[in-house]
């Protein structure tokens, strides 16, 4: 459900053009963030790494747009204003997108995300696509990304402490020098995968057959509330953009 809502939200962000619709979206995302118990400051902090990109976009846009509409228009200042407005719009768009995305990932655990994905892909089951297995694989992959990153870092340092050199020589040589990190990383990943498989098997995991869920993913009241809010939002959005 959330996945769908997020998708709708992002489409809206891209379509938004008028000030009022932006205002509407901002208000919405702020309230959503508050409802979810996520301080807005958090997502602002999350934006920090993007600040540079954002500023760069602003500058580029200002220049590009002003360059584009230089001729024909005598009023220079209005052109600048247009460029700035456009860049602010882009910044806002980025901000809204990121808030939306981080809202989704920070309020939803990977497993329920996968459950949702599995539910959405269910129609594919008719074509004998192993939906459950695929979703499980994805969930596990997601879970092990941080572990493997950490491991890669550790192995890299361990090899460096044996005075391995990673950053000199031609590209081919450099690629060859990854071997001391990649081989142990793969060996470790396979070992972990094996351990995990053993652990899951010993806890009676046998694929989707005969498996039940503690939490049924159902269309709860909260969900219908969300859906109706989203519908209202879309309607308001359409009004502002196309009717007004």
């Amino acid at each position: 459900m959330k996945i769908l809502l997020a998708a709708v939200f992002m489409t809206l962000v891209f379509l938004a053009d008028a000030y009022s619709s932006f205002l509407l979206l901002i208000v919405f995302s702020v309230t959503a963030a508050c409802v979810a118990g996520r301080p807005l400051g958090h997502s602002v902090k999350g934006l920090k790494p993007f600040l540079f990109i954002t500023l760069f976009t602003v500058a580029l846009n200002t220049v590009a747009v002003s360059g584009m509409s230089q001729d024909g228009s005598g009023c220079f200042s209005s052109v600048i204003r247009e460029g700035v407005v456009l860049s602010i719009q882009i910044v806002l768009r980025l901000f809204l997108l990121l808030t939306g995305a981080s809202l989704l990932t920070s309020t939803t655990t990977p497993v329920s995300l996968m459950d949702g994905l599995e539910a959405m892909l269910k129609p594919l089951k008719r074509f004998h696509v192993p939906v459950h297995e695929a979703a499980t694989v994805m969930a596990m992959a997601l879970r092990f990304i941080p572990v493997l990153l950490e491991e890669a870092e550790r192995i890299y340092q361990a090899q460096a402490s044996r005075s391995a050199v990673f950053d000199s020589g031609n590209p081919l040589k450099r690629a060859g020098r990854c071997v001391p990190v990649l081989v142990p990383l793969f060996v470790g990943a396979f070992r972990r995968a094996d351990e995990l498989a053993t652990a899951m098997e010993s806890r009676c995991y046998r694929g989707s057959g005969g498996r039940t869920r503690m939490r049924r993913l159902s269309f709860s009241r909260a969900d219908s509330l969300c859906a109706s809010t989203m519908l209202t939002l879309t309607a308001a959005f359409v009004c502002i953009e196309y009717v007004m």
Binding site: T109, P110, V111, L196, R203, C204, G210, T212
Partner: protein, 292 residues
């Protein structure tokens, strides 16, 4: 109610050779033993003694090449009842990071019961009970990677308890933990054993932990080399050394002194007990060394 939780008759097991042909080395070589309900058994032995293979045999992850294993009266070879065997023989492994499946503690504990195909209400009840047993009611929504090593293992134990097993099998579950976490896990196991009558099979390299069990099984070369109370087993210091393990430090000290002709009891395990015996010998009178 089956009194014997685990029963094995002449169990043998060989890993298949790397090329897939012919049997490799014998990892287990004729193991016959039985473990009764409510026992707390420690299994010790050096690397390659067959401890881990034995544990996986109990969980039907391996099938014996000869002999038979019964868990709660069910033979592990019985394909029809494989999942029942796996449920009854609950396993906790060495590395908590590669046995946690859920994104929250609650989700992870629910994984086993979900696999059993239980009703959502029943699953919820079991998760709640299991978390209460391990003292983690508050941590249901915590992502496991934020927990300390000891609490991760606690969560893993809850995950097994939620499946209502006949016994808990811990395959070196304390090996990667620090002293506080080890103590914590041992106390939890002792409590579950005492209060719930849960059978515990604890595979460990730590002899001080083994000394806390009711029964110690020493494995070597795929066989049961010694089997008895910690006192009986650990009094045989030189035999233990031959088998690649050692007795608790205090026990070793006593055996060393006994070899030199000192009149001291054998098989002494605890610090308090040892202090009383030594104090008596050295001062010539009884002296209470127990800390107040």
């Amino acid at each position: 109610m089956v009194r014997k939780v685990v029963e094995t008759h002449g169990v043998e097991f060989s890993y298949v050779g790397r090329d897939g042909s012919g049997p490799g080395t014998k990892a287990l070589d004729g193991i016959s033993l039985s473990i009764e309900k409510g026992e707390f058994v420690a299994v010790v032995g050096g690397n390659g003694s067959g401890k881990t293979t034995f544990a996986r045999m109990l969980n039907a992850l391996f099938e014996p090449t000869a002999g038979a294993v019964f868990i709660g009266g069910i033979e592990t070879k019985d394909k029809e009842r494989l999942w029942e065997v796996r449920r009854l023989a609950g396993m906790v492994f060495q590395n908590p990071d590669s046995q946690i499946v859920g994104a929250t503690v609650e989700e992870d504990v629910a994984f086993g019961p979900e696999n059993l195909g239980l009703e959502p209400e029943e699953i919820r009840r079991r998760v709640r009970d299991a978390l209460r047993h391990v003292g983690m009611e508050e941590d249901g929504d915590t992502p496991p990677h934020l927990l300390s090593g000891g609490r991760k293992q606690r969560a893993a134990i809850a995950g097994v308890i939620a499946m209502k097993p006949a016994c808990l099998i811990l395959d070196e579950a304390t090996a990667l933990q620090d002293p506080v976490a080890r103590k914590d896990i041992m106390e939890l196991l002792r409590r579950i054993n005492r209060e719930e009558g849960m059978t515990v099979i604890h595979i460990t390299h730590d002899m001080e932990e083994a000394a806390l069990a009711d029964r110690v099984i020493v494995m070597a070369g795929g066989q049961v080399a010694l089997d008895g109370t910690p006192r009986e087993v650990f009094s045989r210091v030189s035999r233990l050394r031959e088998l690649g393990v050692h007795a608790p430090y205090v026990t070793e000290l006593f055996e060393l002194l006994r070899e030199e002709g000192f009149e001291l009891p054998s098989g002494v395990l605890g610090v308090d007990e040892a202090a009383s015996a030594l104090g008596r010998m050295l001062t010539g009178r009884g002296y209470a060394f127990h800390t107040p």
